[in-house]
Amino acid sequence: MKLLRAIFIRLLFGAVSLLFISLVTFGANELAPGDAALIFAGEKASVAQIARIRHNMGLDRPWPVRYVSYLENAVQGDFGRSYYGVQEPVSNIIKRTLPMTAKLASLAVILSSAIGITFGTLAAVFQKRIADRTILTASTLLITLPNFVLAPLLVYLYCLHFNYLPQTWSEPLQAPEWMYLVLPVAILASRPTALVTRLTRTSMIDTLQMEFIRTAVAKGVPRGRLIFKHALRNAILPVITAIGTSFGFLLTGSFVVERFFILPGIGSATIEAIQQSNMPVVQACILVTGAMFIVLNLVVDILLPILDPRIRESQV
């Protein structure tokens, strides 16, 4: 019962956040100069023609009415049409570019969780020794190093100097797809990896000092079992929250990485749309990525009380 209530509250917060982001993207289009009628009427249209098109598109209705229809359409996956080019539906652009970004982000999350938790645990177990110091220094460096400084460094090493990997995405692909994704995913994962490492380390150090661990040691639990079964399972919870929030860094990172490697993802689509002031595309890209961010954090938030009875008890 308590669990259900905790989940319900979180779902409610998630829904409010989604509404907020939809309102913000809707407002952005309102504030931007020009509207769809002006664009679709073309440059030679008269004022009366523009007004007629505006009326036919329903753009002359008051804004709350248009916001509701914007929401209805968005829920059904209709984001209007692109202003330029063949004026294709924006949903097609999203469908074409989102899989690439989703692939990059999910691979980066898996990579950073695996490496981060492993190294964080290692650092905690060998606390204050060389392994720990090295891991700490490396992770501090990775947290502050910007993605677009790390990227040229790795590209120079692996693409130009050793010539192991292809440099930028260009269709038709000259090599298997994974070879194009190795560096982008590694760069994208760098900062989350460092954050997860540090957090796992702190959390593990705290857990290893707890009394139930001392009891387990006294009882003669083997070391491996003690660390992975007793300590890590307790230490992992704050790490899961951090993995959720690191999606925010992944968003920033994917914009940079997609531009650096010229990958056809949603980040590239957004930037291109901004440079053309193609507002429907900008609006939809931000709405979709923002909604993804909120939903992923919601999933993490719902996982927490399921995994940890203490959270379930404390937050009702």
């Binding site: 409010v16 400084v149 040229p152 925010g248 749309a273 923002g290």
Partner: protein, 289 residues
């Protein structure tokens, strides 16, 4: 194992060295940003009266480092040093202006959140939380989508994304400080709320706000470089560290070395701001470290 009394002292000494390094580097960048472009223009002046070394190229593209071109030239034969110095000017200006705006707004919102009646403070702080949770980069990109790219739009976009974290910090700090005995004593002898806030609470926050502002400035400068790298920040022919890195990216196969100065300066500035901010923080707020 070192004894508990020397370990923190050792750590503090190490931190002091980082602080000194960071402060020295920042002073160097600041001086270069102020005087660099003009000095380079005067040195490279080819007889032209109003010569601008930042936007006008007089050399061959990608010249090597020499006595004439301290850090070589860029893809249009412009002096790399002058462009980096001008980039520093843009980055530091964005950093200082954005942090000033976000501290002013953050302090106002935080203090109102702590003192105003519930029907004002609750909606205000919920709004702050919503803004805080909204991914910064998406909001900044959206704002630039509305008003178009450029120097001022970058400042506007980053100010709008930066203030919520300051407001939350000020709210929690003010909420604890306002129940301290000396504040209650001031209230008891009839001090107005404005007097309590300006004389007893804000002076306590100056140090921590300075430290947090400097650490946040590293984030702001990084965000400005990111936007410029993406091509929606500071626009050509004006240089920004981010857009310079993006320009050299396309010629990376033939001239990988051109990337080094920009990347190094940007990374060192970010490191230094973090060192100085952390150093100040542990000075003003010893409990935090």
């Amino acid at each position: 194992m070192s004894s508990p009394s020397t370990a923190p002292a050792k750590a503090r000494k190490k931190r002091d060295w980082f602080l000194i390094f960071g402060a020295t580097f920042l002073a160097f960048i600041l001086l270069t940003a102020i005087f660099g472009p003009a000095i380079r223009s005067a040195q490279l002046n080819n007889g032209a009266k109003s010569f601008n070394s930042v936007t006008t190229g007089v050399g061959q593209p990608y010249e090597a480092i020499s006595a004439k071109y301290l850090l070589g030239t860029d893809e249009l034969g412009r002096d790399m040093f002058a462009r980096l110095a001008q980039g520093a000017r843009f980055s530091l200006t964005v950093g200082v202006v954005v942090e000033t705006i976000s501290i002013v707004v953050g302090v106002l919102v935080g203090v109102i959140g702590a003192y105003a009646p519930k029907y004002v403070s609750t909606p205000l702080m919920r709004f702050t939380d919503a803004m805080f949770a909204f991914p910064d980069i998406l909001l900044a990109i959206l704002i630039i989508g509305i008003i178009g790219p450029g120097f001022t739009p970058v400042i506007v976009a980053l100010s709008i994304t930066a203030w919520p974290s300051i407001a939350r910090l000020v709210l929690t700090q003010t909420a604890t400080l306002k129940d301290r005995e000396y504040v209650i004593a001031a209230k008891a002898v009839g001090a107005s709320t404005l007097y309590q806030v300006t004389r007893h609470i804000l002076p306590q926050l100056v140090g921590i706000l300075l430290a947090v502002g400097i650490v946040d400035m590293a984030g702001t400068i990084l965000a400005e470089s990111t936007l410029s790298f993406l091509g929606i920040g500071i626009q050509a022919p004006n240089p920004s560290w981010g857009s310079m890195i993006n320009n050299f990216r396309s010629d990376m196969n033939s001239h990988p070395g051109a990337l080094i100065p920009g990347c190094a300066v940007l990374s060192l500035t970010i490191f230094s701001l973090n060192f100085v901010g952390d150093g100040l923080r542990s000075y003003f707020d010893p409990k935090s470290s």
